[in-house]
């Protein structure tokens, strides 16, 4: 199947128009939507999972679900938040289906970009790996809220929109996940340094 890059005019369309044209089955609009949102969706999924393992399947599932329900997009939020909501749902199902095992470092390196400070990157990666290994024991909904807010730094309101809950519920989920993480980090020096690097704003 030969795919052509979307025309510049399509990439500048507002959310409502783009969604309408995607819903009408216009292939060029669908490609423009895919090109525009794919990085964001990948970011969301990556933050929750901590690796690119199963990423292709999850991205595929997210976009297929998005194209299947784009006719229902009402413009209450941005198209980006809307597709993040779908990505959160997809990754939740994935996490709930089976306990994820994080990929080893060698796997993570498969598609990685070159790093300037190799030692720092290795430490950070090991800490992240341990963090996600710990998050494997956390309920998926707590994990999603925690990773999107604490790891990816998204505002609570946005996390609430993505996960389809209230801000209070998101706070509660983050608190529970953070409690477990800090409990575990107290016994692990590498992780302790990593976790304490995330400090609350006064």
């Amino acid at each position: 199947m030969e795919l052509t890059p979307p025309s510049p005019s399509l990439t500048q369309l507002d959310d409502q128009s783009l969604a309408r044209r995607c819903a009408a089955g216009e292939r060029a609009a669908q490609q423009a939507f895919f090109e525009r949102e794919r990085t964001q969706v990948h970011r969301t999924l990556y933050r929750v999972l901590g690796s690119n393992r199963n990423m292709e399947d999850l991205l595929q599932e997210t976009f297929i679900e998005a194209f299947g329900s784009i006719h229902a997009f009402r413009g209450d939020s941005s198209l980006r938040t809307w597709i993040d909501t779908i990505a959160a749902r997809v990754v939740y199902r994935h996490l709930a289906r089976r306990a994820l095992k994080l990929a080893p470092v060698s796997c993570l390196d498969e598609h990685s970009a070159p790093h300037s400070d190799l030692e720092m990157q290795t430490d950070a990666r090991r800490a992240l790996q341990q963090l996600y290994a710990m998050l494997d024991r956390v309920e998926p909904k707590y994990r999603i809220a925690y990773t999107l807010h604490v790891v990816d730094g998204r505002p609570l309101k946005e996390v609430a929109q993505i996960t389809g809950t209230s801000v209070m519920a998101v706070k509660n989920r983050i608190w529970r996940a953070r409690h477990l993480v800090h409990e575990r980090a107290a016994r692990d020096p590498l992780l302790r340094d990593f976790v304490t690097a995330v400090r609350p704003v006064p």
Binding site: M55, H111, A113, V201
Partner: protein, 338 residues
Amino acid sequence: MNTKHTKHTEPEWPIEPLSNAAWKRIEQRVFEQVSASAPAPETTPWLRRRFVWGTLAACSLAACLVLFSWSTGAPFASQPAAPLKRHYAAIGSAQQLDLPGVTVQLEAQSELAVVSHGVYRLARGAARFEVVHRGPHDPLAVLAGDVRVEVVGTVFKITCVANTARVETYEGTVRVVQAGQGTLIRAGEHWDLVELADAETTATDPTRAPSPQAEAGGTSSLPAFHATPARSPDLNLNLKARVSEHQRRRFELAAACEKRDPERALRIYEALSREPGPWAGNGLFALGRLELEHKRPLAAARDLRRYLERYPAGANAVDAQTLLSRLIPDGSPDALAH
């Protein structure tokens, strides 16, 4: 927990990028799937409107039919497709019958006949009826002997064994008509018609009260009950045992609430004393004793005297005599009146 948004003190943790080849694969698979599941041509607006209006009309019609069936008490929706039988018999084990407007649990050794639409006759045995709500002018009727039970929507059980009948109401109210007299039996209440002459039971149970028939000088104030005689004597004994058990419970309840609620206890004792059954004598004596304890000498004397007349050799006869002698020291009722 601090609910403020957090910031990271170190640079954002990098995201491992996907290769271009991976993105190509994803894109290709996504669009293959989207093409394969392309939506059907959209229905034209007028067709959609027609569909919506058609659905609404169908729903309204269905609602009207349900309301009509409910108000007329003819739930055609629950009509069985099979033709209605005229006679049902549960010989070996209990049966459940789904009849128009009523579900019947026909106990073993019981027979039920369909007289006409909404009228059933329990020939023998016991059956529990769960009647769906009917219009007030179209009650369901169950006949047992010359007893007619009318309901408009309730759960009740009727037992018809030998020359006895019992109507127990579990939900709602039923109207029992017998000898031209109607009685309303509410949920939790029951109505009994017990055949009076039972020589065997009377001989073995000294506390059993003589029947109202005997009390009235041998002529029955109750009309004869023409039910089909039971073929199983066990059912007859079972009914009597249940009546006795029920009376015993009521007697114990009254005894328990004598101090707390003496008026209630008096009412129960009085009711027991009027009923035929083995606990009538105990009820009558307890009634007299409690009336005496609550400074009602006239009523106490009357009831104790009735007890002695009915049960001269009863278990409480000596006590009744003692209490009566305290009330009337010189043996003259006139003395008590003053």
